[in-house]
Subunit: 476 residues, 2 copies
Amino acid sequence: MEKVNSKTLIDIVGENNVREDPADRYVYGSDSSVHEASAWVVVRPMETEHVQKIVRYANSKKIPVVVRGSGSGMSGQAVPINGGIVLDMKKMNKVLEINPADGYCRVEAGVIDDDLNRVLKPYGVLYPVAPASSRVATIGGEIANNASGVRSVKYGAVRDSVLGMKVVMANGDLVNLGAKTRVQASGYQLDRLMVGSEGTLGIIVEATVRFVPIPKFRCLGVANFNKLEEAGKAIAGIMESGAQPSLLELMDNVAITAVNKTMNMGLLDVDAILMFEADGMVKEAVEYEIEKMKAVCEEHGGFDIKWSYDAEERTKLFAGRKKLFPALSKYVETHSCTSLADDMAVPYSKMAETARKIHEVAKKNNVIMTAYGHCGSGCMHTKILMETGKENQWHNAKKAVEEIYDYVISVGGTTSAEHGIGLSKAPAFKKEKHDSIAFMHAIKKALDPNNILNPGKLMDAPDDWVTATKLRYHVN
Amino acid sequence: MEKVNSKTLIDIVGENNVREDPADRYVYGSDSSVHEASAWVVVRPMETEHVQKIVRYANSKKIPVVVRGSGSGMSGQAVPINGGIVLDMKKMNKVLEINPADGYCRVEAGVIDDDLNRVLKPYGVLYPVAPASSRVATIGGEIANNASGVRSVKYGAVRDSVLGMKVVMANGDLVNLGAKTRVQASGYQLDRLMVGSEGTLGIIVEATVRFVPIPKFRCLGVANFNKLEEAGKAIAGIMESGAQPSLLELMDNVAITAVNKTMNMGLLDVDAILMFEADGMVKEAVEYEIEKMKAVCEEHGGFDIKWSYDAEERTKLFAGRKKLFPALSKYVETHSCTSLADDMAVPYSKMAETARKIHEVAKKNNVIMTAYGHCGSGCMHTKILMETGKENQWHNAKKAVEEIYDYVISVGGTTSAEHGIGLSKAPAFKKEKHDSIAFMHAIKKALDPNNILNPGKLMDAPDDWVTATKLRYHVN
């Protein structure tokens, strides 16, 4: 590994797009995870050829290249723990083609999710991945992290929307992966291998994604439960009933208390709330789904069920869920809300017991945790609220994280639903994927022999992230 | 490469499951493609450990292992062109778990598609991949070939239904890939890499797949067009309209003539027929889709449009399409129907001109070709009808294949929609994927360093399959 020569980078992208001052290196040293590091230099390519030249240079000098969208990743994917070049993709933000007759659009990797949907709206279509961070998340970042969101129960994860992509490989080669068609059976799906590879196998510079028609009708329902376990039964019951929700969200009592306390939401102080939605082009079909889901909720003790087709009313019904993240940040004055154990996926029937396990583990380790998430796609979220200034709290948090993922794996779940692995989830990931890690290493080595692409992540991440990575918090 | 020792194989699976007689080696030497070879030995594993032991043995001796489902592949995927062990997976045919609450089932690789759907039916759910060969195709074979079918326009290809799988790697290791949940973001999607890898990266022994509710209502429509180009506009128009067909099929005049002549179907002698279907749980929603599609067909000159919700009527309306394959086999007495240029995918808006190109190329090269397919998923099918006894016809056919795929690639299509690459489509595949072939090689080498898994296929297949492979036909 050599020191980076910024002169070379300036020759490629111009002076304005190369930043070496401490402030920039600091800002680009962290994402939305607990981790922090320092970039050597931040570079903003404006076109594919820039990326190719930068990567070729880095490869020849064995300099790490950490690709970054908006830095909204919660697991440390964009933290340059080995230094090197941070490649800020946000200037590559052109929508290149919208092709409704052929059912796809092509975008540069730095296009932001909400911006794409604004451009698609006049065509009556929607790119449906919808992560909570859609206001800032880039399409490239979503692909690299296999993102999903509230509507993935119906529309799938990013892997289900991507048709193809252009990728700059570690040697600087530009490759066209996938196709422009709904189906394809043309050999190795290298495009699907890139999905979720977190910038370790190639730099996505362009994507071809398909879209879906914007539904004309949408109905959101909310049901209250005196017992989390009843809500859990309702989740599995809804999925088993053949209902096809477009959203199915769980909030536990900690979440309810947090939004009531900090945001004055006035939710019923129950053990759990389920939110369910159906969408479609025909009202009768939406009604059918909503009636089915209401019936299952009632069957399992759901009460005070409210629902609405009206956009404004729906916003109100969903406000408690929408405000949960800021609410958690303010919930306990002495505690900060950290992205730890923030994301996992478990089979539907294990949702309630996973939430209970989270509560039990939190109590045991003297931190505060809530359980919520897009349970219709198997996705469970939480956060760890802790006194981040106290060193022992970090060791408690680490133990809590370990215990929770051990449990998730034991019930047939997986380490990440949609926030990726990065650094924080790497120990659990390595446990879960113990039998295939060697093959991931082999692929990484085959495609990036000099290990320049986002090194030290996923299977190469440190086992003890508390001591082995710098934390974004001041610890006494 | 050493000669195989059948004694070792008999020790693993028993005498009954090892076949070396010429008849078996002959039968297992071909699939539904034009190619033929001879297996050294056919082995029928009954459990995962058998597969592991066989692969370990083969790897130690560098003996090729060609995994085989039912041999319904049309591109030569299961033809043992380098000899070795043919691994017949059909005895591993247990449905291991059906879990409606968690939305998945687990099956051994040799379970047949229709058999799985028979077992799922009482639960009100459906594994929706539906290739035309579902009566014989195994789930493992479908995954290895990224199969799709008539309903993939709505339900996607096999890659959209698979959640996870167990795979025996080239060194005999058993790995668990993917997850059991609807979404996951746990690092490299090795499961998606296995999808479409045609037995060259690992042997799939078990799969976890998700299912969808069986729709209560289904309506099929048929529209006639005096011009293929009008039907082409209707296809793009339907997709652009936001309609969500569950089936969208094209038949050209050659196809219509073939079924009328050989099966007495009485279809109108028009230039093209479109078949369109909608399905759902609520009749109003199905009606909405059907009306939309009918209107688009009419707008583009579609006439004598018939439609029905009745199962028996639908079968009659679809009979012409259903009987097309046998009809082509009988269409011209002197000609055999071969699986060549049988499958490709193009953007919706290029369907009609691709069909025209096929006709033009057929005429030029003195063979007969028809164009039909699941155009809603971008899939175009054809067959080459030719005098298989005449050597020059094979060279004509090869030229026709080349010209068609050059065209398909030039309009943004891809070599295979659902029949895979194998041997016959390898030259076109190598042209299409020229920029990523080196990376496919790198991955193949990383995961199968001794090149024992289905060697000589995909990027390693010969460029001239006519001379480099044995043909399944007697050529004078």
